[in-house]
Every structure is written in C-alpha cells, then in structure tokens.
Amino acid sequence: MNLHEYQARDILRRHGIPVPPGEVASTPADARAIAERLGGKVVVKAQVHAGGRGKAGGVKLAKTAAEAESHAKAILGMTIKGLTVQKVLIAPAAEIASESYVGIIVDRASQRPVLMVSSAGGIDIEEVAAKTPDKIHQLAVDPRYGLLQHQALALGFKLYSDVKQARAAADIMQKLYTAVYAVGASLAEINPLVTTPDGTVQALDAKIAIDDNELERRPEIAALRDVSAEAPAEVAAREAGLTFIKLEGDVGCCVNGAGLAMATMDLVKYYGGEPANFLDIGGSSNPQKVVAALRIITGDPNVKAILFNIFGGITRGDDVANGIVQATQAFPLKVPMVIRLTGTNEKEGIAILERAGFAALADMDEAVKQAVAKAKGKAA
C-alpha cells in the first residue's frame, strides 16, 4: 500500500525527523487559508500515487495565497497517469542549498534492510543508479542491532563534509530506520533531503510504501488507505480477497494462483490473443470469490471472452464450479466462456458445470486456444 506524501511526512515528523510545515487541502478555499497561515511563497503539490507529478503540472509555485487558491483549483480534479487528484499539499517554498537522497528498502539478495544514500538527490534515484552507480552508497543493516550510530555517521559524511550536517543526517537515518520497522514499511525514501541556506538539514519530500502483510496488525496504518486514489475495479477485487490488475486485451482471465495466472496470460499471448487482466482468486475455496471475480471481469467492456484456468490444490473444483453457476444465474454472461478445470474435486466440479450446461476442458493449452479464438469471434 502506497502512502501519500503528506501521510509519509506525518510519519517522519512523529519519529522526530525535521520536516518543513505543510498541510493538506481538498478545496481551493482550504488551500488559500493554509497558504495565508504559512505566509510567503508556497508550493501546491498534487497528492496522487504516481511519479512525475511535476512534469504533469501537478506541482506549482505560488507567490500569494490567492495564487495558491487558483493553482489548487487547477490541480484538484486533474488526472495524472489515470488517477484523479483529490488532495493537494500546501507547503512553504523552501530555499534549498543542496539536495540529497536517503532511502531504505528490504533487499532480497542480502535479506536485510539496506540503507541507500546519495548526494545526487532530488531526481529519480533509479536513474542515478543506472547512470552513476558510484554516487550511491549502500549499507546492509543487521536487523538484530539496527542501524548503529557510527554506520549512520559514516554515511552522513558521504552527503556532507560539515560535521554538524553529517550528524544531523545520521540522526535522520537512524530515525528513518526506526520508522520503517514501526510502521511496517517495505520502502521509505526521503527525496530530497535538503540543506537550507542557514545550514539546517530537512526532509522535504517523502515516499513510504507499506508491506500489505503488515496491515492486519497495524489498523492505524491500514486506516491511511485512500480508496479514492485507486482504480475502482482493483479496490473491489481487494475487498473480495482477489488480486486483480487490469490490462488492455480482450481475454478475461480467472485463475487460481499468481504463477499460473501469469503463465495463463503468457499462453494467451502465445496463441495470438491479448489478456484483459491478471486475476488470482487465491488459494482458498469460496464460491463467492468466483462470483466477485466474474462480476469484475464482465465489468470490463473490452472483454470478448472469459477464460477460467483452475488447477485445484487447496482450491476445490466443486467450489469454483458452484461460483460460476451462481454468478451466471445472478447476471447472464454476454460473452463466451471457456473453462479449464482439473485437480482437487474435478469430477464433482465438472458434474456441477455440466448440469448447468457448461463444458469443462482438462487441458490448459486447448482452453487458451479456444478462448483466444472466441475473443476473435471465431468458432473454436
């Protein structure tokens, strides 16, 4: 789960990291009131889960509160990478002497949280990593002891030659490390970490992504989810316990298991079709999930054929079959459907489908070929 910049800034502030003031507004009038309170020049920043906000016109400088209001009016409701802006952050336009990067991710290779710093901050860090990897300094932290003071200070000196600034940066790094474990973050970035003309070190912008597996035990973090900032079909899928990602093709796919779902999409492409989505009904056995899945797939007007690929393990074939039958009774399908069903309770599942007038195939390749042909309007 991604957090908005203003939410990430709140978390940093709560962990004692210096963050410039700033408040979030949902209306132009609120934006004006905040700008008046802050006084002086402000920036108006779109709060959406998308990179490249500046390039899309979602970040604007305002000299007066009136200008902040008109910028907010322009930015609120604007669409950035398919997402509608619902909130803007109003923050003082800081004078910046230098920009650095500080980030923490869990690294698969070392199996540890890795702290990354670079004096080339303010821009896309992946670009820095690709073009000038020597400008990025990394440290794999031993999670049993946490980020030690001397380790943080050594990285602080990679950013600043001034000892006061190096110490301030080290303190921020240690606090960021603590925050990662406290909120269950899979990624936490301060970009840029700035110095102002008077020499203070501050976190100007922040990005935090929460590991979805943390949300159950952290209701206060789960409550930060902004449903309005996500695609509606993906929200519906999550609420039904499914994983769904919309794509551009016309073969709607419904599969159990992420790996098999990806392999099914690949096979659709192999036989000349285009998958309309990734959809994993997960490992559990619940007919209602299948009903929800079919509702989501049929809600996509691009879908011309539906393909089920079920290899029963924990998932039982009879549960899936019951779900398909219940769904088609609740809302008749307007497009052809091809079902592949094998594994646990396949005989029971196939019997249920046949009683309702559906056929089931045993072979994955055959099912995919038929679905692709039907999406193209051909008889399989």
Binding site: E126, N213, K269
Partner: protein
C-alpha cells in the same frame, strides 16, 4: 534417493488442530508421510486422528518423538514465532506454508534460522514432495509419480501444472520443491540445484521462475559454473506490465533486472533449455535426457 525429505523424515505439524493443519495433516498421513507429532499450545495430551500425539511446544514434541522436520500451518500473525520455535527446538528442516508473513519479520527470522544450522523452505510456499516416500506441505500427491526429474519452483499451482505435464507423459519426479513467492525466503534456486545435482537419482532438473528480483539470474550463473545435469527452465510473467505486482510479493519488476525477457536470456546463455509454455517441458526434457 531424493532431496531434503525421504522415508527417514519424521514430521511435526505446527498448527495440527487448525483448519489447514488438520486437513493437510490427514492428507500427509494418507500419503504415507511419518507424521509423528503435532503442536497446538493448550491442546497438549490430545491425540490427532486418534494416532498422533499433540504437544504444547515444539521442544516437547521433538524430545518425545524424535521429530526431525517441522511443517507450519499456523496463521500469519504467529507464523514468524512458529519458525523461531522450530529452529530453537533443533529441527534441521522447517517448511513454512503460511502466506502473509511481513517481510520485516523475515529479516529477523532468517539469521536466527541460519545460525542454528536449520534449513527453512518458504514461507508462502506449497512445501515439497518426494513421490512415493514423503510429502511435507500441500502439493497434491495424486499428480506426482516417482522418477528421476527434480522440480524447483517459486510458484504454487503453476508447479502443479508442470508436475501434471511430467507425470502424464511418463516422467516421474525425485523431489518437487516449492520455494515460495515471497521476497525473503529460506531456500533458493541455488540451494535446490546444488542438492539435485548431488542426488544420484535425479537425472534432470526443471526450474520454474517468475518476474521480479534476480534469483533466476543468479541460479543461471550457478548452473553455468558447474551443474552437470541438464536443466530446463520456465519464467512466468512474460506479458506482465512493468512496475506492477502480480500477486506474489516477489513478482515486482525492479528496474531492468527482473523482467521475464532478461531472465529467459540469462537462462539460455547458461545452457538451460527455456520453455515458452508449460507444455514444452516434456519435449525439452526428452531432448536433453
């Protein structure tokens, strides 16, 4: 032979009285796995299915039954704790089926397990099976057949698909291992490739990877540097759009180092025969055997 589990495997099931633990406990017993103990705190002194003694702690279970392997079916909220407990009890092999363990918990679990010399398989995995000998986890026993193909996979149901293709075409398996789809896992491709290469009854290896991370590229380097047996590989996620999660936490395309195309190229250049689709596994193996 086989890798990791065989007729000498003595299994303790953590969470044996729970919904998943009891269902799969029975399935494993029916398959012939030596299920010697169960653990559910508060249910010590009970018997599971009138046969398997249940203990309050893993340490007691190990002491009383000489269990050497644990399988974990407990809920995600207590799964990290269950792995710590199994490692503390001195078990050499710990298989964690549970899905949904926070990655930050795993950063603390993995060094603890390694320091005690244990092998963890998973979490978020289907477990493993040495057909005809022992099954630890949830891989359906009826789709497997004893034989000479070693299978290692990051996926669950996709593994079943590949095993199904093998079995229905007369290619039995020595051991099938599901290593799990999470970013931090205890046993990776390289560990399994090394074990299969050393196993005299494995003649060829099938590895099933997916987008995200660089484990498959590292495995390819390892194969190039000295795996003697033929390897056939598959990468799921060729059509996945960049930057999106596809269900598994592990399946994130990060930069240019996690795409299916890049992984398939790495496999090819290491002399691994790369499948374009699951059904290719049989002809490619037959070419190499």
């Amino acid at each position: 032979m086989s890798i990791f589990i065989d007729n000498t495997t003595r299994l303790v099931v953590q969470g044996i009285t729970g919904r998943d633990g009891s269902f799969h406990g029975k399935q494993m017993m029916a398959y012939g796995t030596k299920v010697v103990a169960g653990v559910t705190p508060g249910k010590g002194a009970q018997r599971f299915e009138d046969a398997v003694p249940v203990f309050n702690t893993v340490a007691e279970a190990v002491h009383e039954t000489k269990a050497n392997t644990a399988v974990i079916y407990v809920p995600a909220a207590v799964a990290a704790s269950a792995i710590f407990e199994a490692a503390d009890a001195g078990l050499g092999l710990i298989v964690c089926i549970t899905e949904g363990i926070p990655v930050l918990d795993m950063t603390r679990v993995l060094p603890y397990v390694h320091e005690r010399g244990a092998r963890l398989i998973g979490p978020n995995c289907p477990g493993l099976i040495s057909p005809g000998k022992s099954k630890v986890g949830i891989i359906p026993g009826n789709i497997c057949k004893p034989g000479k193909i070693g299978v290692v996979s990051r996926s669950g149901t996709l593994t079943y698909e590949i095993i199904h293709q093998l079995s229905t075409n007369g290619l039995g398996q020595s051991t099938c291992v599901g290593i799990g789809g999470d970013p931090l896992i205890g046993t990776n491709f390289i560990h399994c490739l090394r074990a299969f290469d050393a196993d005299p009854e494995t003649a060829a290896i099938v590895m099933i990877g997916e987008i995200g991370g660089t484990d498959e590229q590292q495995a390819a380097e390892f194969v190039k540097s000295g795996v003697k047996k033929p390897v056939v590989g598959f990468i799921a996620g060729q059509t996945a759009p960049p930057g999106r999660r596809m269900g598994h936490a592990g399946a994130i395309i990060s930069g240019s180092s996690g795409t299916a195309a890049e992984k398939m190229a790495a496999l090819s250049s290491a002399g691994i025969s790369v499948m374009k689709r699951p059904a290719d596994v049989v002809p490619l193996l037959k070419e190499r055997l």
